[in-house]
């Protein structure tokens, strides 16, 4: 954090311009950038998204348009325009700087992509040049805003994107206004998320990431995200309900079942990551073989699915029984692996779980009747898993509901929303209880925890088994979604999720010990390889670099647990919590009653 109370040397901009000019440049530049999205940037529609039409933005131009609007909005708020004051409660420069950079980034990324992909600057229309120039203006304006000059360039630059410490508290809202606000934000979130899933080509997805990252960063430095999390803390159950409502609405917004497929895979991946979060985030047990439990659930479901390739092809459990069987098999497997290994601490546990995870995959590979008992069909796996059917509702067919068509994946998506709801409930309830506290205590200091009467082994085994069960449950759905189960995806590391390394990365990247973190992490980690197919074999490299950068600059993950945030960013101050966010539960209860 930068020290804003330092004896202010002369406050002036990095670019020497008067304040009025800087602001004018920001506003005018923002508007110009927005307007330039309506021009033709290139002459051929070979570049995806068709940027050739004057008068209507296409593809990446929409992103420039959005980023330009955001820049202009913050610029107007900086002028103190009535009704926009809430955008800039601390009246700091960082949101202006960041939105300007975002608009510049996405515009220039587009222009450069056009030039590179089509082979030369000649492919740009004058509109492209105008956009390029227009998007530079707000950046110039932003860096002309006055900031205390410390004489050190690095410090000066940091000051431009710093979040101030004291952000004035908002005026209290009435209960219904808070809820209305949460509803609006959830709807916006759904729209943004849906846009990301629906991006049709890699360039658009990268542009989308640029805009989203800078916009969220800007909102964060403006203090708006903090304010919103406070609202959420007041209305926890309502927010959770809204989140699930949004998740349910998603497939109805999709006309193409392919995107529902992405959605269901994200949900499976996210659910498993949330299960892993119990093991890693709460109990602090580094489990490197976690994906095996997903595999156990999937294989169990496949074996009792009635597939003709199953060893028990005559057996067809109803789904609820198959789900229970899968969860129970994972539970047993979890206890079997946990019982001997959980006596080990730290690194040893990680290595042993890694070993067990691989043993699962290799064993499944070998149980083909030749090298072992004939159970899993070896590398061929169990194909032709029939679709689920609930009370005559066949998941394999498209259904028309209230004028919307729900395809096969949309059906499974909705089932997965239900399962994720169960897992979220299990996670939140377990975390906030005697057992959850003992997990955290074990993670913090195992010796002290046992000296406080916690049976470390037992408590760890419960975490391990619970995590395994939840993964197994998700696995039962995943077997049906993918039609077949094969040993290969259940490995330690691979180029596509799910695998243990990706699962762990989803938890760490998203934010250990939070509910939303692993889900967000899973969504990102699923979408990146899915959308950036042009990276091909370099996607793992890119992923590694991204992970290193994130861990360097935000070790607590994208969504920070309060504990972890304080752990990694020593503020040197006593942590004096906001009185209203003290205990999550009672606050919710009283609010719900009001």
């Amino acid at each position: 954090m930068t020290d804003t109370t330092k004896t202010t040397p002369t406050a002036r901009g990095l670019i020497p311009l008067p304040l009025a000019a800087a602001r004018a440049l920001l506003l005018a530049g923002g508007i110009a950038t927005t307007a330039s999205a309506f021009l033709a940037w290139t002459w051929t529609s070979e570049f995806p998204g068709d940027l050739t039409i004057t008068g209507y933005p296409g593809g990446l131009q929409w992103l420039t348009f959005t980023a330009g609007i955001l820049t202009a909005l913050f610029a107007l708020a900086a002028y103190g325009i009535r009704g926009l004051g809430w955008l800039l409660p601390a009246r700091n420069n960082a949101p202006l700087v960041l939105t300007a950079i975002g608009a510049f980034g996405v515009t220039w990324y587009t222009i450069i992509s056009i030039a590179v992909e089509l082979g030369g600057l000649a492919n740009l229309e004058p509109g492209g040049y105008i956009a390029a120039i227009a998007s530079v203006l707000p950046v110039l304006g932003a860096f002309a805003l006055p900031e205390p000059n410390t004489g050190d360039t690095k410090e000066n630059l940091k000051a431009y994107i710093a979040k101030p410490d004291g952000i004035p508290a908002p005026q209290p809202l009435s209960g219904w206004a808070e809820r209305a606000l949460i509803t609006v934000v959830t709807a916006l979130g759904l729209a943004v998320f849906t846009y990301g899933i629906d991006t049709e080509y890699g360039e658009l997805f990268i542009g989308y990431l640029i805009v989203v990252v800078f916009a969220v960063w800007a909102l964060h430095t403006a203090g708006l995200i903090d304010r919103f999390s406070r609202l959420v803390a007041h209305n926890r159950s309502f927010t959770l309900a809204m989140g699930f409502a949004a998740a349910i609405v998603f497939p109805f917004t999709q006309s193409n079942d392919h995107y529902a497929n992405i959605g269901v895979n994200i949900l499976i991946f996210g659910t498993v990551a949330l299960g892993l979060n119990i093991v890693v985030g709460l109990a602090g047990l580094l489990d490197l073989g976690y994906v095996a439990f997903l595999g156990v659930g999937a294989y169990t479901a496949a074996l009792v699915s009635g597939s003709e390739f199953s060893r028990f092809s005559g057996v067809q459990f109803p789904f609820w029984a198959a789900a229970l069987a899968g969860a129970a098999a994972s539970l047993i497997f979890g206890v079997l692996i946990g019982a001997p290994t959980l006596r080990l601490r730290g690194d040893y546990l990680a290595i042993v779980t890694l070993g067990f995870g691989e043993i699962f995959r290799i064993a499944v590979n070998n149980m083909d009747g030749d090298s072992g008992p004939d159970i899993t069909n070896g590398p061929n796996g169990i194909p032709a898993i029939p679709d689920l059917s609930f009370f005559g509702y066949n998941f394999g067919e498209a259904h028309d509901i209230a004028g919307f068509t729900l395809g096969r994946f949309a059906n499974y998506y909705l089932l997965m929303v239900l399962i994720m709801a169960i897992v979220v409930l299990v996670y939140t309830r377990a975390a906030d209880s005697r057992i959850g506290r003992s997990w955290i205590a074990i993670r913090e200091d195992e010796t002290a925890a046992t000296a406080m009467g916690i049976n470390g082994f037992r408590v760890k085994l419960i975490a391990f088994a619970l995590g395994a069960t939840l993964a197994g449950l998700a696995g039962t759905v995943s077997a049906h979604v993918t039609y077949s189960v094969v040993p290969n995806p259940y490995q330690f590391a691979g180029a596509a999720p799910p695998n243990s390394a990706f699962l762990l990365a989803a938890v760490v990247l998203g934010g250990m010990g939070t509910v939303a973190g692993p889900i967000l992490g899973a969504a990102l980690l699923y979408l990146l390889p899915e959308k950036l197919v042009f990276l091909q074999d370099k996607s793992l490299l890119a992923f590694g670099i991204a992970l290193i950068l994130l861990m360097r600059f935000r070790p607590e993950g994208i969504i920070a647990n309060r504990r972890r945030q304080l752990e990694f960013h020593e503020t040197g101050q006593l942590d004096v919590p906001d009185t209203t966010t003290l205990t999550d539960e009672p606050a919710t209860v009283t609010k719900a009653g009001a």
Binding site: R429, E444, D445, T447, G453
Partner: protein
């Protein structure tokens, strides 16, 4: 002193060897109900090791420890369950949990809500959680940290961390409390307050066994003092007896103990101790 002196803790012939080193050698030791007993001895005498043997963190090479007549299994959680709680020489709080959560973890042995009741959240669960929180708040009030219930433990000043460790230990409703250097690193006022606190704990009917280097503190407080030197119990008796014993003076104090050592001196010793401790092994 209490005239109903039933033994709470009985250590018999406790020996702890680390390879060739015998850290504790055939120590017999008793703490009676209502007593405050001090355990003193020079650095490396084996006091902390002895505590670890009592609480099951170490499995003694020889000997047994019994609490109120029953022999304790050398498992820390069972020892706590039985009724012995402890603090650590180098504070071992759950740093990233709040003050209240730390105390709630201390309640672990006196509550029994398992995973199922947490998931189902029946009325029993809510009642138990509420009762636990009330009990924890009582303890925080007792110790004087009630207003900091939602601070992270790591952000408390040193003296308050020591207090919180005591509150956390008390939360397990022990019959015997073991304090390993409760005043290490404290200033004189805080030491005095800790003295009051130990008396108050005894008045709740909890026997106290404490390791301390601050001699004034020990001799003010303790009904009985035992001296451990090189793993062996040298002397045991009232403050007067121990202070007068030639061997103790020779082994530990180096000089007659008439004018009690100055605060500065005690603090120096304590500081050196704390330093020592931080470089030492796992279960201090």
């Amino acid at each position: 002193m209490n005239n109903m002196t039933t033994p709470v803790l009985e250590a018999r012939d406790v020996t702890m060897r680390f390879g060739g080193l015998t850290a504790v050698r055939s120590v017999d030791f008793t703490v009676n109900s209502g007593e405050i007993v001090g355990l003193i001895g020079p650095n490396g005498a084996g006091k902390t090791t002895f505590f670890n043997c009592l609480t099951g963190l170490y499995i003694p090479t020889e000997g047994t420890v019994s609490y109120k007549g029953t022999v304790l299994p050398p498992k820390p959680h069972l020892v706590t369950m039985a009724g012995i709680a402890r603090t650590f020489q180098n504070i071992r709080l759950f740093a990233n949990m709040t003050v209240l959560e730390n105390v709630l973890v201390g309640r672990h042995t006196r509550t029994k809500e398992g995973l199922w009741s947490a998931l189902l959240r029946g009325p029993g669960f809510k009642k138990a959680e509420k009762a636990s929180e009330e009990r924890a708040m009582e303890l925080l009030e007792f110790i004087g940290l009630a207003d900091k219930r939602d601070h992270l433990a790591r952000n408390l000043p040193y003296g308050e961390q020591r207090k919180l460790e005591i509150a956390r230990a008390l939360a397990s409703e022990p019959g015997l409390l073991l304090l390993d250097e409760p005043t290490a690193g404290m200033n004189p006022q805080e030491t005095r307050a800790t003295e009051e606190l130990v008396f108050a704990i005894r008045d709740k009917g909890i026997a106290v066994l404490l390791i301390e280097h601050d001699m004034r503190f020990v001799f003010n407080l303790c009904d009985r003092v035992a001296v451990l030197v090189q793993g062996e119990k040298l002397v045991e008796g009232t403050s007067e007896v121990v202070q007068a014993d030639e061997r103790v003076i020779a082994a530990y104090l180096g000089e007659p103990f008439e004018g009690a050592p100055g605060e500065a001196e005690a603090a120096e010793v304590a500081a050196a101790e704390a330093q020592n401790a931080s470089t030492k092994g796992d279960a201090q």
